[in-house]
Amino acid sequence: MVSTILIAIGVLFNLFGCIGLIRLPDVYNRLQSATKCGTLGTCSILAGALIHFGFMDAGIKALIAIPLLFFGATAAAHALVRGAYHFGVKLGDKSVKDDYKDIAK
């Protein structure tokens, strides 16, 4: 029962992340919403799997996948935002400040 609740919370956060992916205006903001909600949502689903299987072999695998997913998603987000900036994707129209412009060249 607890595992079903955790999985429902995870799917809900994934839904917010996908709405943000479709609705927000530029690459950097989409990356913000997609990375945070996608990661915590999927981590919550994996925690549900861990509680359902218990600390047996399948549960341990879910436990291993959580830190892998966490650090993988953060490092991938960092690489993507840096790559997008060097590729020349402009910040959106609503942006107010850009300290990185002089360094990137």
Binding site: S3, T4, I7, A8, G10, V11, N14, L15, G17, C18, L21, I22, V27, R30, L31, A34, T35, G38, T39, G41, T42, I45, L46, G48, A49, H52, F53, M56, D57, A58, K61, A62, I64, A65, L68, L69, G72, A73, A75, A76, A77, A79, L80, R82, G83, A84, H86, F87, V89
Partner: protein, 87 residues
């Protein structure tokens, strides 16, 4: 119908909505963000599927998918910033 199955179908529909951004995205970077998140959602699908079918080995597929999508995203990001792969 079981609640878990409904959640599984919702998760599959969410990853299909990422395909919208992959097809429509105005620049390459948008498409890569959507591909990255698509990989994360597929891991969620693997976890729910392993609970429904009571087979633990599907979680192995999830772990392999996490690592491969991470390496793929890093490689594509390197390509975006205009560098060779060994820099």
């Amino acid at each position: 119908m079981d609640l878990l199955e409904i959640l599984l179908y919702i998760q599959i529909a969410l990853s299909a909505s990422c395909l919208f951004r992959i097809i429509r995205g105005p620049s390459i970077a948008d498409r890569m963000v959507a591909i990255d998140i698509f990989g994360v959602l597929v891991v969620g699908i693997c976890a729910i599927l392993s609970i429904i079918s009571e087979r633990g080995f599907i979680l192995d597929i999830g772990i392999a998918w996490v690592m491969l999508s991470f390496i793929g995203t890093l490689t594509l990001a390197k390509y975006l910033s205009g560098k060779k792969l060994n820099e």
